[in-house]
């Protein structure tokens, strides 16, 4: 049974599940490296998922949906930036408020636009896989090829984009002027200020980037994976992403890999649900597993994880 469990499909499923987590986690990494706590990733993902579907349904163009998802995430993050950078509000409070706002707003607009709560109609065409290589045949070579095809070539565009973003963001963080200044902002903003780096502008950019990535994560959920939007469909993924960011030690590639771990847990959870038909274990038990993993991982790890020194502290000139 265990062998039939570990199919290439499981790995592919893990990578798919990891994608929204990773995008949001990398957003969180960039945001927190600038010194701004972002617990509003959940809300950013949710508005992205919602507006992606709304615009796709309205225009029939799923790519416009993706753009709308990103814009929605950026707009929500702009509120967070304004509250925490300009108004110097408590960043956790601002983030919590935005999560509630996102939940309320999507629920409310659902009623306004579609006249009912719950879920939207399905979009006509989800975004399909990038590659469509032929598989089949028999023999060892054909089996290997089908494995490779499933694990490497079976994904939709945003899945690949997430991998590219992880690598590019990692490179940018350690090789570019932007990255150097970003890392300084979250550690010692005054030091950055004294050499002429604009602290507030830098933090704005970082928060907005996290909004864009959060929105894109939402687009991946609705436009590539599920095909409909339903109330609160992110169901805590934004918080898992936050955990992945910490577990990945505030680095983009680390965030991606940590998301992969949680994605794998999610994939196994789904697999176990289908395996245990007729069994007595309630389905909620399996749904719980990824979160349990988060708690275990963070409890075992948090003590050693050292975040940016100035995180959560608004910057004030003398």
């Amino acid at each position: 049974m265990w062998l039939s469990f570990l199919t290439p499909d499981l790995f592919a499923s893990a990578i798919r599940m990891a994608t929204p987590l990773a995008l949001a986690a990398i957003g969180g990494t960039i945001c927190e490296r600038s010194g701004v706590v972002n617990i509003a990733l959940e809300g950013m993902m949710l508005v992205g998922a919602f507006f992606g579907v709304v615009v796709t349904l309205a225009t029939g163009n799923v790519w416009l949906g993706v753009v709308a998802a990103i814009v929605a995430g950026v707009l929500l993050s702009a509120i967070h930036a304004f509250a925490s950078v300009t108004l110097r509000m408590d960043q956790v409070v601002s983030g919590t408020a935005l999560n509630i706002l996102a939940l309320g707003l999507t629920g409310f607009l659902m009623e306004v636009i579609y006249g009912h709560p719950g879920a939207t109609n399905g979009i006509a065409h989800k975004i399909g896989p990038v590659f469509n290589f032929p598989t089949g045949g028999t023999g060892v070579l054909a089996t290997i090829w089908s494995w490779v095809d499933q694990i490497v070539f079976s994904y939709t565009p945003i899945v690949y984009v997430a991998i590219i973003i992880a690598i590019v963001a990692q490179w940018a963080m350690y090789r570019t002027r932007w990255g150097l200044r970003l890392r300084a902002l979250g550690e010692h903003p005054r030091a950055a200020d004294t050499v002429g780096v604009r602290v507030q502008a830098g933090r704005y950019v970082a928060v907005l980037i996290s909004g864009a990535l959060g929105g894109l994560a939402g687009a991946n959920l609705t436009l590539e994976q599920v095909g409909v939007f339903s109330d609160n469909m992110t169901s805590g993924r934004g918080f898992i992403a936050l955990a992945a960011n910490i577990f990945g030690r505030w680095t983009p590639v680390g965030s991606y890999l940590a998301s992969l771990l949680f994605g794998f847990a999610e994939a196994i959870e789904i697999r176990m649900q289908s395996f245990q038909q007729g069994n007595q274990i309630p389905v909620q038990f399996f749904l719980m597993l990824p979160y349990v993993l988060v708690v275990i991982v963070l409890a075992g790890f948090m003590g050693r994880a050292v975040g940016p020194a100035a995180i959560g502290k608004p910057y004030e000139k003398e």
Binding site: R175, T194, V195
Partner: protein
């Protein structure tokens, strides 16, 4: 034409006139020492020049042209560099990254690290500021970090270098090296403003001395025209005794007893390798040593901030080896930490709140868990008066005090608690000569009142003038012990730098290096 001229600079904070029509001239290739009591307004004046504070009046001229400096960036572009009293380095970044930040050599936003490292290396060679460009700043000693700060200013093209108390945290050797660097800078045509409280440094390095008091310039002189006593008088406005009188100690029973103490540092290496010592009532035990030889860990273990690996600590026969800080305070231990900003104060709290930290749950400051503001404020006002903390009110935030006054605040709290044992690490760091005299007297008074005092200091002069017994620490062990009067700077320096009892003659370089840059 002067490279920098300040005309009638005024800066007012709520309740304080920190700078009151201050004028100052700096010529090319000149070192001007800016001298003044704690809170006189020296840092404020330099922060105005560096664009960190906006002046309320006055004019700044660079190369004879009036300029407006609104941000550090504008100061940097005018060729002004500053090394701050509290360093401005990002601990997690490398030396190179810290130096180039703000002026990164790059193409299309991609940093050219090869060029950056080469530039850093070239500068460090040219001015004799040896650093490893790839090292993380957090792993560097304070002296090294300071070199990075200076390199940063030079890299940004500074022609005018402001050094705000650069020697307060340096070991004597490092002080010597720093002044070597400063001299090579001025021969290259740079101009330097040096803020320091150490009069011997002023006498040795400055071309001209400008003295401030209460926000105003009260005098100007040159080292040739005066001496340390004269400088002190100009600063404080009265005669200052530079070395205190000390009567012999009359030690009583044992108060602190430390046995075979082993403590690990952050990297889990043994920072203390089995240290034993005792401090008696009515006795001052001084710990001499180059920074980083285990003194920090010793102090933190005694006051309960660090858990010892093995060994024991007892206070009047009560075991406090594993006591938490709160319990050690209750047992009668006071602690003046070496880093006032990190361990000593909550910078966002006001003075009254800071003055009762550690006692906030106890009578008379609290009753049934409620803090009694009236009692607290009254006590705060009294202590601030006793310790001469210069502030307009007790509602000022600790972070807004001048560096020296922050230090006095910590001393006021810890010494005001009436402890059995006072553990004081670098108690006079950043204090002016008047305040040092006061604190030294105070420590001696505590001793004469039967208190046990453990004094840790990098200032050999301070150790020698106060201690009844001197222990020298080297690499986590007590390397030597002397009775008061038995040791001279040379012999202590010999053991501080790793000499052992078997070698008899003090190594000449080691001895002079230490004695050369002594404190007051």
């Amino acid at each position: 034409m002067p490279v920098l001229e300040l005309r009638e600079i005024t800066k007012v904070f709520p309740g304080v006139r920190a700078n009151d029509r201050v004028s100052l001239v700096l010529e090319r290739g000149e070192i001007v020492a800016l001298l003044g009591e704690n809170g006189a307004g020296k840092s404020t004046l330099m922060n105005v020049v560096y664009g960190l504070l906006a002046p309320d009046g006055g004019e700044i001229l660079v190369d004879g042209k009036p300029v407006r400096i609104r941000t550090p960036r504008e100061a940097i572009d005018l060729g002004i560099g500053m090394v701050h009293q509290h360093f401005m380095l990002v601990q997690t970044l490398t030396v190179t990254e810290n130096i180039i930040m703000g002026h990164e050599p790059s193409r299309f936003g991609v940093i050219d690290f090869a060029t950056a490292r080469a530039k850093v290396r070239e500068l460090s060679l040219r001015y004799g500021l040896k650093v490893d460009p790839g090292a993380r700043v957090a792993d560097l000693s304070v002296g090294m970090q300071q070199r990075v700060e200076i390199l940063k200013a030079l890299y940004q093209g500074a022609r005018i270098l402001i050094l705000d108390e650069p020697t307060a945290v340096l070991s004597p050797q490092e002080v010597g090296e720093l002044f070597g660097v400063v001299r090579s800078l001025v021969t290259e045509g740079l101009s330097v403003v040096l803020i320091t409280h150490k009069l011997d440094e002023v006498m040795g390095a400055a071309d001209r001395v400008v003295v401030m008091r209460d926000g105003r310039v009260v005098g100007e002189t040159t080292p040739a025209k005066t001496d340390q006593v004269g400088l002190a008088r100009m600063m404080v406005g009265r005669d200052v005794v530079l070395t205190v009188e000390r009567t012999p100690a009359r030690p009583g029973e044992t108060v602190l007893e430390v046995r075979d103490l082993v403590v690990l540092d952050e990297r889990r290496l043994e920072a203390l390798k089995g240290v034993g010592l005792t401090v008696h009532a009515g006795e001052i035990v001084g710990i001499a040593g180059v920074d980083g030889n285990g003194q920090t860990q010793l102090v933190e273990a005694i006051v309960g901030l660090k858990r010892p690996q093995s060994g024991s600590i007892s206070l009047r026969d009560k075991d406090i080896t594993h006591a938490a800080p709160r319990a050690t305070i209750h047992a009668g231990v006071s602690h003046v930490p070496e880093d006032r900003q990190r361990r000593g104060l909550v910078l966002e709290f006001d003075l009254a709140e800071n003055l009762i930290l550690g006692d906030q749950r106890d009578a008379p400051y609290a009753r049934a868990g409620i803090m009694r503001t009236r009692v607290i404020d009254e006590a705060a006002r009294k202590r601030i008066g006793d310790y001469d903390v210069r502030t307009p009110s007790i509602r000022v935030l600790a972070g807004n005090l001048s560096g020296g006054n922050q230090q006095k605040l910590v001393l006021a709290r810890e010494m005001g608690r009436d402890p059995d044992l006072l553990v004081a690490a670098q108690p006079t760091r950043g204090l002016d000569v008047g305040a040092i005299e006061f604190v030294h007297r105070r420590i001696l008074t505590e001793r004469d009142g039967g208190k046990a005092v453990l004094l840790v200091s990098m200032e050999l002069e301070e150790i020698m003038s106060l201690s009844d017994r001197i222990l020298v620490m080297y690499e986590g062990r007590i390397a030597a012990e002397f009775a008061a009067g038995e040791a001279d700077a040379e012999r202590i320096g010999f053991f501080m730098t790793g000499g052992s009892k078997k070698d008899h003659a003090p190594a000449p370089q080691a001895g002079t290096a230490v004695a050369g840059g002594g404190g007051l």
